[in-house]
């Protein structure tokens, strides 16, 4: 099958174009480095089905980061390249174009963000550009779909031109020549968001805006999450699901093996979603009733921050602090993604340049960054005793993140390069794009997390029925009670934490722990080991040896922090 590659600089709209061309929706954002792996989709071209591949952005064919290496590697297997060019940054983008033209692969140029050129006062003579490059050039606006048909219609015209230049000096001279001939600039007025860009570049303004954005985000996530729980999720469970389960409970004679597996224990003759622990009761309630509302609210906010273009600006403000941890400011982006789910967070560490940085960033995400599912459960369970206890958990995680990062910076060999990143312009996010992206992520959560949660609850119930947990609990009792001050039954939750942390926190609910014990167990659960899905990704990204090292650090850090909390609180 013919393979079409979408190649271009970071943040020029390759992923948006990919969604347009193939109808396969993928995450697109307004920051360089959104795509770190590659995504395949299909396009019907005449009678033939062709494969389209969204390649991570790269500035040159001499790769610097791991994501760029992926891009260059992919080029070997393509039959045709759609070179996606940001029309508002012609000169820099043509550098990659000219490098592509030297490869023996047909190229067509998509002159994307075409609409932006008008209000930026940039005029480009497309016909002339086409003539000078020797390949077809089609203006496009990927986010709205403008020009996509024209691009697809001209795909057969893609070709390998005769390009003669040698070395980078000659290449830049040639680019300068092309730009001079095809582009003219006229005056344009500052838009209001360009003024905002200036404000967030200013020291004090920048910090002020960051505090405002972050606190508004937290407030909004909490407000929307709690709102969905109280007004949608809980009523639905109470009025629709509970009556159904109660009928099933009667059919199953209110007890016995199957009742225990499916519905769990009845508390005072009723289903208690936090304590019953049946497959259909708590097994459904945790992912759909408790966690999903926070997944929706978190990814709604994240989607907006991504598309407005705020994250790279936050990265600059965080740069000095992150250097103390052996990272640079841009590592804040994988970290923020980790607050949703550690899996995409750790994958995003590919945007970092050195092995040392990737190791530190991935380890810190697994230790100190609780995912949305875990956070929803912590807020739900620990929050019952008061906000200050939730704050203690977050505070402990943040302190661990800082201290471990500081130690790793000194202990891990290798280098930590400085930040060098393009700051995208602020853009008004399109509601449709935000909604599509939110749906992709929510759908991903339901598809991937729900089966694992149900499987976990099933395994727990079977192990309980077999009495296996009791023997594990007795073995672990000395560490738990002496070091952490927890009852030996909490080991069950810790073991379950290997599979799903939200279920693990849920398992603490029936144990009647004190507020202090909840803080300790929630903190230890968050830190001590990544969930199974994260562990698989860690092993893939870091390799077996570094993953074992990271796991050792996690266990040591969790026991140390938990022990300290037990002493101090």
């Amino acid at each position: 099958m013919m393979r079409i590659l979408l190649v271009g600089n970071p943040n020029v709209g390759k992923s948006a174009l990919f969604s347009r061309i193939t109808g396969t929706h993928i995450i697109a954002s307004n920051y360089p480095g959104t795509t770190v792996g590659f995504t395949k989709g299909f396009l019907k071209l005449g009678e033939d089905q062709v494969q389209v591949i969204d390649v991570p952005g790269t500035y040159t064919l001499e790769p610097i980061s791991k994501a760029e290496e992926v891009a260059v590697e992919m080029l070997k297997d393509g039959d045709l390249v759609i070179d996606v060019v940001d029309a508002t940054n012609l000169e820099r983008n043509l550098n990659l174009t000219l490098q592509l033209l030297k490869r023996q692969i047909p190229v067509i140029v998509a002159l994307n963000m075409w609409d932006d050129t008008h209000h930026r006062g940039i005029n480009i003579n497309v016909g002339k550009l086409e003539e000078l490059l020797g390949v077809p050039v089609a203006p496009t606006v990927a986010v709205t779909g403008q020009g996509i048909k024209g691009l697809i219609g001209r795909l057969p015209e893609a070709k390998v031109p005769k390009t003669t230049y040698s070395g980078s000096d000659e290449r830049w001279a040639r680019i300068g020549d092309i730009v001079k001939q095809v582009q003219s600039l006229s005056h344009h007025h500052h838009t209001w968001y360009e003024h905002l860009e200036d404000a967030s570049n200013d020291h004090i303004g920048g910090i002020f805006i960051a505090l405002l954005v972050l606190s508004a985000s937290f407030w909004f996530i909490r407000f929307v999450g709690e709102g969905i729980i109280s007004y949608i999720a809980e009523p639905l469970f109470e009025w629709l699901w509970t009556p159904l389960l109660m009928k099933l409970s009667l059919v199953l004679d209110s007890g016995g093996f199957w009742h225990n597996i499916l519905i769990g224990k009845l508390i005072n003759g009723q289903i208690d979603y936090s304590q019953s622990f049946g497959l259909l009761s708590t097994g459904f309630y945790i992912p759909l009733g408790a966690v999903l509302p926070y997944i929706v609210s978190f990814y709604l906010v994240l989607g907006m921050l991504e598309d407005v273009g705020y994250l790279p600006r936050l990265a600059i403000l965080m740069d000095t602090l992150m250097h103390k941890l052996g990272l640079h400011g841009y590592a804040i982006i994988p970290t923020i993604l980790g607050f949703g789910c550690n899996v995409p967070g750790i994958m995003a560490t590919r945007i970092l340049e050195s092995r040392k940085e990737r190791f530190i960033a991935a380890t810190l995400i697994s230790i100190g960054i609780p995912c949305a599912a875990l956070q929803a459960m912590i807020i739900g369970l620990v929050g019952q005793h008061g906000g200050q206890y939730v704050a203690m958990v977050y505070g402990s995680l943040f302190v661990s993140w800082l201290i471990i990062g500081f130690i790793l910076n000194h202990a891990v060999r290798g280098f930590s390069p400085e930040i060098l990143v393009e700051i995208p312009p602020y853009r008004l996010p399109l509601l449709r794009i935000i909604a599509e992206k939110l749906w992709l992520r929510v759908h991903g959560f339901i598809k991937e997390a729900l089966p694992v949660v149900l499987g976990t609850v099933l395994v727990i119930n079977i192990l309980y029925a077999m009495g296996i947990f009791n023997s594990i609990a007795n073995v672990a009792a000395p560490v738990l009670t002496n070091l952490l001050g927890l009852p030996k039954e909490t080991i069950v939750a810790l073991v379950v934490g290997f599979l799903r942390k939200d279920v693990a926190i849920g398992m603490l609910a029936p144990l009647a722990l004190t507020a202090k014990q909840l803080v300790v167990s929630a903190t230890v659960l968050a830190m001590f080991f990544p969930c199974a899905a994260t562990f698989v990704i860690l092993a893939r990204e870091l390799g077996a040896r570094d993953t074992l090292k990271a796991a050792g650090i996690m266990i040591a850090a969790a026991l140390t922090m938990g022990g300290l909390q037990n002493l101090i609180l």
């Binding site: 940054n89 820099r92 550098n95 740069d319 400011g329 060098l420 990143v421 393009e422 312009p425």
Partner: protein
């Protein structure tokens, strides 16, 4: 830091709003390539937009793009000042 036109200084020392032309990059081939990829290379006009406290990154404008470069890198990019502009009143 009063600067006169024609003076050659590291990017870091430019005033905010000042424009200059990159003269050379003090550093190895690796740094040259990384900067070149973002179109920061000898002969390019750059405008300093901001700096960050505590030796944080320096933001500059190259053509239509804003780029943030680390403090150390900003010390290695040598710029020739184009015109004298008093810091805070400078436009883009």
């Amino acid at each position: 830091m009063a600067m006169y036109p024609g003076e050659q200084i590291p990017l870091r020392q430019m005033n905010i709003g000042q424009t200059g032309t990159v003269i050379r990059i003090l550093g190895g081939r690796g740094l040259m390539l990384r900067l070149e990829a973002l179109d920061i290379r000898p002969g390019k006009k750059v405008t300093k937009i901001s700096s960050t406290f505590l030796r944080g990154p320096v933001t500059l404008r190259v053509d239509n793009t804003q780029v943030a470069v680390g403090f150390g890198m900003a010390n290695k990019i040598i710029v020739k000042i184009d015109q004298f502009l008093p810091g805070n009143f400078a436009g883009r």
